[in-house]
Symmetry: C2
Subunit: 281 residues, 2 copies
Amino acid sequence: MNSSFPVILVNGQAVQQISVLDRGLAYGHGLFETIRVCDGQPQLWQQHLTRLKAGCELLFIPWPEDAEVKLTQEVGELCARSDSLIKIIITAGSGGLGYAIPEAQAPMRIVIRYPLPDYPIEYTNAGIAVCTCDYRLAQQTRLAGLKHLNRLDQVLASAEWRGSKYKEGIMLDQQDRVIEGTRSNVFAVDKNGDLLTPQLSRCGVVGVMRQYLIEQAALHHIKVLEGDYSSAQLKAMPELFVCNSLIGIWPVRQWDQHDYSVGEITRRLQRLVKKLFVAQS
Amino acid sequence: MNSSFPVILVNGQAVQQISVLDRGLAYGHGLFETIRVCDGQPQLWQQHLTRLKAGCELLFIPWPEDAEVKLTQEVGELCARSDSLIKIIITAGSGGLGYAIPEAQAPMRIVIRYPLPDYPIEYTNAGIAVCTCDYRLAQQTRLAGLKHLNRLDQVLASAEWRGSKYKEGIMLDQQDRVIEGTRSNVFAVDKNGDLLTPQLSRCGVVGVMRQYLIEQAALHHIKVLEGDYSSAQLKAMPELFVCNSLIGIWPVRQWDQHDYSVGEITRRLQRLVKKLFVAQS
């Protein structure tokens, strides 16, 4: 296996393809997870599995009894002792014509191993510049939180800033509330040292790293305030960062015209994430 | 070729599969068309092609110079002298990890021939019962009108009424405006004989049959009023129907608790569609 190319298992078989009749392609009827693997260990594995299973229920995709065991085996098989990235896609499987969910569904289970992207270490150490995307997220409570396969919002928002000095785009909803980055969640730290992060009941993806940080904050007696925040409110905070399961935490050193230094709470949380990403420590 | 099963061409090749790395699967980064073929002739073919090409431009998918010629050849090859249904899917092709659009894109061109669904002729003659879906469409002007691959809205809305006496579900937006059916556009006829249909600048799919009917109405001196209509407004109209490229026109004989008879304008438009669906006439 050449480690610089993706290695793929589809329902446990080493094939590269799926049917063009799959509902994942036809309608985006499915979900995905992106997981960091350190020394063969998928990080926050139970959290990723839990989110995937909960998403399947909301999209009426059956979750076979052996899905968890099989995914664990397959990730183990692909990742033995490596530092890598795993993407899991679950789709509703092949279907006939039309949106109606077939009575007999055979969900597809796709596991893809990629090499870890080689982001410059300065992104973690010195932070990144981010911009506000023009593209706005719509409110859709039935899909809010899920990491489903309907991602044109993120594709179009990313197209605004890729290739520029910005390394992430911050997305607002149509009421000017900050929701998330195109591929990350957003946190700010206020002057009391409390964490502020957008609540995601109307839109946005509830990131596994976001949830981990919220739990860790509680354990370390850092208060977390999930709420509705405008970009003006968050831009006025002394510390800002974005996070996801792959990058961990990237401090924000610039957001549009506003500059920030990397603060103490951000560094504390980065140390916790560093412990999680064992192979990096 | 067994005509009761889908027959597939992927980039002109008789294969059934695409790469699991395709951005159509990963993000729903693509578009589709569903086309009725009568005696080997794809109906409203130029209109379908025009919509597909315009959609590609808005989703930053290159439209190769020979795409139209190749699609025409492939549809001709699959459909010779048959009455059938063609689904075309265009995707942004395989990509690496992440939402950013790859610099070198190789779009995928998928053509699938299905047998024509055998809807009972009563749907056309006597009409159907429709219900209002609880699921609401969100406003997203950048995607409005397009027949893109992000269709979880329609999947979830269809799940509300499939298997019931209703044959279509009417979708409203979050401001209670009528937008469309889950797989059709909606028209009403008022007591002056004018056609009313929701405008689709905020959400919804601009159907090829909808556009054909608007053009035909103009030719036949029937006024068309595209606007924002509540379900109460449309329910109060004497005639209602839904339409798409596959079914043509199905009169609505019941919408929730309201009953309708099939009106004169609906029948006039059905006769025009019948001429279009030559093999049926």
